[in-house]
């Protein structure tokens, strides 16, 4: 069953790729972030809360979160991607929305909308997870009232070996591969995104989720630090005048 497998980039099985995170990268937006994991780069911008049209979408009890996921035409390893929403992009937009909604308090924004736009200029697998992770930082940067941050990563099995943060060459490995993208709310200890392509046993899934938790906590730490870096400068001022 379990065949030996050496990761193409030489990482340990539970090791994620190098990460860079920066908050406040799109000045026009109310909140924004850039998240890079290995060669996958995601930009997220938040606009809102803002007026929601058409009006029949408005709900006087709570606001609406809308997410859009998009890969830029020159971002992927193969041919140019035709612009416009593909079925894949639309589904990812949907699961992104579901991954982020439980983290934000939409009752604070009746009748309004919070729009999240995710764009990927360069990709090497793990794009939906990078997008969700960037979006969570952008939402916090936009001052949205949140219950928790959301951190996301793909875990999976290659030839029976449990690994974290798959790259393209691992997803496309000519053996038995299972890919499990996960979004995790660290404070609530809950999963808000769970998908899988491949075959695994329930025990294997259990182990995979354990690893996802561990890795998401590392990512969350990076998200928090990036957010604090952006706002740290205001601390001195408050100390002086407060």
């Amino acid at each position: 069953m379990k065949k030996s497998f050496k990761r193409p980039d030489g990482r340990a099985y539970d090791e994620i790729r190098p990460i860079k995170a920066e908050v406040g990268v799109v000045s026009r937006a109310d909140g924004s972030a850039r998240f890079q994991i290995g060669k996958t780069v995601a930009y997220a911008a938040v606009y809102g809360p803002r007026s929601l049209y058409p009006k029949f979408l408005q709900n006087p009890k709570h606001g609406l979160l809308r997410c859009y996921y998009n890969m830029l035409p020159f971002s992927s390893k193969g041919e140019r991607i035709r612009p416009g929403p593909s079925r894949r992009a639309m589904e990812i937009s949907l699961v992104t929305e579901k991954a982020l909604t439980p983290a934000i308090d939409l009752t604070k924004y009746p009748n309004a909308v919070v729009d999240v736009f995710i764009e990927l200029p360069q990709t090497d697998a793990g794009t939906r997870c990078a997008g969700i992770t960037a979006a969570a930082m952008a939402l916090a940067d936009a001052g949205i009232v949140m219950y928790d941050l959301v951190s996301a990563v793909a875990v999976g099995y290659v030839n029976g070996n449990l690994i974290a943060d798959l790259i393209y060459d691992e997803e496309a490995y000519p053996g038995e591969v299972a890919d499990i993208p996960v979004a995790y709310m660290p404070r609530r200890d809950k999963f808000s995104l769970l998908q899988m392509d491949g075959k695994v046993s329930s025990e294997q899934l259990q182990k995979a989720l354990e690893l996802a938790k561990k890795v998401c906590l590392q990512i969350c730490d990076i998200q928090r630090k990036a957010l604090k870096r952006r706002y740290e400068k205001y601390k001195l001022m408050e100390n002086m005048e407060g």
Binding site: L72, F74, P83, D115, F117, E119, P121
Partner: protein
């Protein structure tokens, strides 16, 4: 009631005294003004341009396609632009609107009409196979002047591009060669001159772009000749206006060119 908004009246008052809302001179670009490369390792060429807070990415993908029937011995050129809703609260989801189409067409015209890419050299097998150069422009933050930023980003991405390997007639995107695109030394540069009242300005901010009267995009080449023009805005221009705007366009085109060709 005057038709001119309070905002426009104020801008004109300032221009009359030789300054703009942000303190710049009339023909002055914002800072930083710079070109970076390597937006995407998966593109055959890519670049980003920053003008003040405005940030635009451009990427080049190459593909093997069938030439158009009327130019069987030439490669293909396509320029696309998407006004991503990420970049500006005004941009909406959906198929490219007229603004995005005009932007793409303006960039396309400068590159195509100058003969910057030697399309004949992109032909692999007449009538059957040729390289297609696919340029995509994606604004990440639109704080004004997407025209100049986009044209410059596309130009830099083309300069940066290399061919991928070809195995058995098929493109192997995973392997890059050292071979650059067949570019001609005309180096088209595009500068859009805006007219507000009787004044000409360069590199408008979002606010200025909301109240201009007319604009002229001036595409010029290394030898100082013109290769493309596009007039926009609701107010017509006199021949004298055009003369002045073209002169400004050519002069500042030289400056922008230096950012890529050192």
């Amino acid at each position: 009631m005057s038709l001119e908004s309070e905002a426009k009246k104020h801008v004109i008052e300032l221009l009359e005294k030789g300054v703009r809302l942000d303190g710049r001179k009339l023909l002055e670009y914002r800072k930083p003004l710079k070109v970076n490369y390597g937006v995407s390792v998966n593109a055959e060429g890519s670049a980003s341009v920053q003008i003040g807070e405005t940030l635009v990415f451009a990427g080049v993908k190459l593909a093997i396609e069938q030439p158009y029937p009327d130019t069987p011995d030439e490669g293909l050129l396509m320029v696309g632009a998407e006004l991503l809703p990420l970049a500006n609260p005004r941009f909406e989801m959906g198929p490219p609107g007229i603004e995005a189409i005009e932007l793409a067409r303006i960039v396309d015209r400068g590159i195509r009409e100058s003969g910057f890419i030697d399309l004949k050299k992109l032909c692999i097998e007449p009538g059957e196979k040729a390289w297609a150069v696919l340029i995509d422009i994606c604004p990440i933050n639109d704080a004004g002047n997407l025209f100049d930023a986009s044209a410059l980003a596309a130009f830099a991405a083309l300069k940066n591009a290399v061919f991928p390997a070809v195995v058995d007639g098929k493109v192997d995107y995973g392997t890059k060669t050292n071979k650059k695109l067949p570019l001609v030394d005309v180096n088209p540069m595009s500068v859009t001159v805006f007219k507000i009242g009787d004044h000409f300005i360069l590199d408008p901010t979002t606010e200025e772009q909301e109240l201009y009267d007319a604009r002229l995009t001036v595409g010029s080449m290394s030898d100082g000749r013109l290769c493309a023009l596009q007039k926009g805005g609701d107010v017509p221009l006199s021949a004298d206006d055009v003369q002045k705007m073209v002169k400004i366009g050519i002069q500042y085109g030289k400056e922008l060119r230096k950012l890529v060709i050192k």
